[in-house]
Symmetry: C2
Subunit: 211 residues, 2 copies
DNA sequence: GCGTAACCTTACGGGCGAGTAGGTATGCTC
DNA sequence: GAGCATACCTACTCGCCCGTAAGGTTACGC
């Protein structure tokens, strides 16, 4: 009515981030398919054609979300776990960064791990990221073993790393659903399971399948 | 034309199972949304209205799949892990049953854990099942500890159980994608991580967060 | 052999939401 | 203050797919 120039014009880079914020939020709440481009646009305080103009089709938009959140997470972890630290310290800092990220970006986590996993077009992208994580963890374990003068079979290392990453994801999932939970404490618990368990195992101990 | 009585009329119970088989297969391949009722019907060798007549709407159909596969899995595990066995043997048999199931029902697993997790209407159902699993595992750990005259905090037990279940799911996921992998071997590896790691931890050992 | 119930089909309605056409306004440069 | 690029909008098309209406056919009881 009275002009209503309340909504300012903003440069592209800013709008793009707003759109991504909104997209992550809506994708996380509704799921990939149930999320409508209209709702995302509305939530971003913009109209639909702008979204198409800047970020492209719905699939491309989701990939963009995936990329941003995934990169953020990987950077948080890699930045914390400097390679020149002792292995246990690296693992500990990595875990703390990981759970810290999840605690602070629950929406992003939900998009990454609850949505992307189910939809074929994106599952590959996610699998790649997880593979990198597994490699990092396997590297830490390997490093720790060599420091003690031991070695382990490649496959075993990778499988153990896989299990550890899976356990972390599971706890992260739990964390994302419990706003009152403390990321730091969760990280500590995971660290205990990981370090003591994997250490024991790779040190040579074995549970015997035959009775 | 020439009669074509190739397709026989079948009693309801049989058709329902065929439909569920087809549904699980298609849901697993395409994902919940991308799966079309037409494709499911065609795959079941029947026409669409029959599916609606017998199993109801798409959502109800998916719930039916979830229920069948979930029940099968829980029965496989519960049946193997008899409560009167020693704790480590219970855990071992449970894990073997679990990975055996996943190896034999990769489609069902994909439906259960890759699809249901992402879609709000079904996430709750799945969470309930996982919670039951966590309780079972926590019970095993508790039992094992008491047998050694120890005890552990309730929360710690549950969190550790959660991590173990998560690790198992992760390995199961990996198994589902690797047809050549051996379920038995995977179970053995998981058993090693679980028993040695959790045992160590709950026995009182701790990794110290402060340096 | 005739009713009736269960099995099964073809063919359509209708909604929802992805993506677009075409036009308006705002700021920036000279 | 003319010209131009960029930010932004309203309002539409159109295809896909869930769900159903209405009718055909086989088996079985009596």
């Amino acid at each position: 009515m009275s002009g209503t120039p309340t909504f300012k014009r903003l440069p592209r880079a800013v709008r793009e981030q707003q759109m991504l914020d909104a997209a992550v939020k809506v994708f996380s709440r509704r799921g990939y398919h149930a999320a409508s481009m209209d709702e995302i646009a509305e939530d971003a305080g913009i109209s639909k054609p702008m979204v198409y103009a800047y970020l492209g089709t719905k699939e491309e938009l989701f990939v963009a979300c995936l990329h941003r959140e995934g990169t953020r997470m990987m950077q948080a972890i890699a930045g914390a776990a400097a390679p020149d630290l002792p292995a246990d310290e690296r693992l500990w800092r990595g875990l703390r960064a990981f759970f810290g990220f999840v605690g602070a970006h629950r929406d992003g986590w939900a998009v990454l791990y609850r949505q992307a996993r189910g939809e074929q077009p994106f599952a590959g992208e996610l699998a790649g990221m997880r593979a990198r994580l597994v490699d990092i963890v396997a590297g830490m374990l390997d490093h720790a073993l060599r420091a003690e003068g031991r070695g382990a079979g490649e496959t075993d290392l990778e499988v153990v790393a896989y299990a550890l990453v899976g356990a972390s994801e599971s706890l992260a999932d739990w964390l994302a659903d419990h706003p009152e939970a403390d990321p730091e404490k969760t990280a500590t618990r995971m660290m205990n399971v990981a370090w003591l368990g994997a250490g024991q195992l790779l040190a040579g101990a074995t549970w015997r399948p035959g009775r």
